[in-house]
Structure formats: C-alpha cells, structure tokens
C-alpha cells in the first residue's frame, strides 16, 4: 500500500497494458487445451493402441482429473495476473512512485522526488503498441545511475506529460517561494 503525504495529490496512475499480458496467457491456453487434444488423439486411435484399465467409473475419474487440472491452472493464472497487474506507476505532485511486483512475495517500490527528475523518455515501437497505446517509459533522475524503466505501460505519453508538468509546477513554486 502506498501512503501519500499530507497535501500530496495523485495526478495519474497507470498499470501495464492488458495486451502485454496476452503473451503470458498463451502458455495457459496451451496447457488448458492439451488434455482435450490428447483425449481426441486417443479417441481417434479407436482404442487400438493402448487400452486403459481403470477401476470404477472412468467418466467420473476423467471429470475428477479435469477439475483438478483446471483448478490448478485457474489458480496459477490468477497468480500470474496479480503479479502482472500490480506493477504500477503513480505520479503525484511531489513524487514518482514505481511499484514492481516481481512475484507474489517479491515487491520493489522505487520513489523519486519530482524535482530530482531530469528527463523522461517514451518509446512506443511497432504497430500494436502504437495502435493500443502502450510502450516503455524511462525516467532519469538526478541520483547516480537512478533510472526507472517501465515496459509495456499504458498511456506512456500521458505519463510523460504528467511528470514534466508536475516538475514544471514544482520548479515554479520553488522559485517563487510559494
């Protein structure tokens, strides 16, 4: 949970784009379809190759096995989704906060004061990122070797504008002493 300071306001909060998650989904689709493919191959052989001798009602056993398999996949899918979509960037009028959820039990939160930001670079490459509006945002800060690079984030230009606008306001208020 990110705790904001008093009088600190969130300007924009963005997550990684859903399209990037599709590449993670493909593996789950393959694993979900695999038992059906194997069953259809076995059925197409007409039982000529190998006969399975299983005690009890085999249909019930297949239903049981399928529910175990799909339950495991279902839980694993949501674990993947959670680690993916908890990656977020929050731009406030005082800070930029980048939360990198590396796993369910590994989380890195990087914070930079808005007036220490030197440069923001946006990279949107390719037809699909351009069409769906996602890309890479790199934020260079004054600290040595400190750079946030966030891949596959939604609305990268909006993030850039928000950071630069917040920095302009921060610089202006600092120079006028307000």
């Amino acid at each position: 949970m990110i705790t904001l300071e008093q009088d600190e306001n969130v300007i924009i909060r963005e997550y990684r784009h859903w399209f990037v998650f599709l590449s993670h989904v493909i593996g789950f689709v393959v694993l979900a379809v695999a038992p059906l493919v194997l069953a259809s191959i076995y059925a197409s052989l007409g039982g000529n190759a190998v006969t399975l001798a299983v005690p009890g009602n085999i249909s019930l056993l297949i239903t049981f096995g399928s529910s175990v398999w799909y339950l495991a996949l279902w839980v694993a899918f949501f674990m993947q989704w959670t680690t993916f979509f908890l990656d977020t960037i929050i731009v406030t009028d005082k800070r930029v906060i980048y939360v990198n959820q590396e796993g369910l039990f590994a989380r890195r939160v990087s914070t930079s004061s808005i007036d220490r930001i030197q440069d923001v670079t946006v990279r949107v490459e390719g037809l699909i990122p351009t069409f769906f509006n996602f890309g890479t945002v790199a934020i260079q800060t004054a600290a040595e070797e400190e750079k946030f690079t966030i891949h596959g984030i939604a609305n990268p230009d909006e993030i850039k504008e928000s950071v630069l606008e917040a920095r302009r306001k921060s610089t202006a208020s600092a120079s006028t002493g307000v």
Binding site: T51, F78, T82
Partner: protein
C-alpha cells in the same frame, strides 16, 4: 543358440492403473489446501496493494466463482468416483 531380438519391442496393449479412495481424497485435500492458501494470498494482495476497487471486485468475483465451481466439481466427482469403486 543366439537370443532372438525383436525390434521395435512390442508395446503393452493395456495399461492398468490402480486407484484407491485414499489416493483420491489425498489429492482433494492437497488441492483444497493449495487453492485455499493461494486464495488467501491473492485476496491479501488485491485488498492491500489494490488495482482499483472496480477491477478488484470484478476480478475477485470471477476468481472466487471459478474456484468455487471447480472445487465443487472436484468434490462431487471425487465422491461419486470413490462410490463407484
């Protein structure tokens, strides 16, 4: 006399799998423990770190509905199968 070698070696025409109620219920217990623990972990992440209230409600509802359906199917089919043994 030299031994006769046939290639390819013949595959078994039937595979016999033994099943017992204790094996079935052991798998059920394992899955209930794993799914229950992961559900608690996921709900903790969604409520503590959040991904927006609307998104959390939709995804959480979908997850719980799917998990409940699959757990029920697993329990019912396990009970019916062990009764058929």
């Amino acid at each position: 006399m030299e031994p006769t070698v046939t290639f390819p070696s013949p595959l078994p025409s039937a595979i016999s799998i033994s099943m017992s109620p204790s094996l079935i219920w052991g798998i059920v217990a394992l899955m209930v423990i794993v799914a229950g623990t992961m559900t608690l972990v996921l709900l903790y992440h969604w409520t503590k770190y959040g991904a927006g209230i609307a998104r959390t409600i939709v995804i959480g509802g979908l997850y719980l509905a799917g998990t409940g359906l699959l757990l029920t199917t697993m329990l019912v089919s396990a009970a019916a199968y062990t009764a058929s043994l």
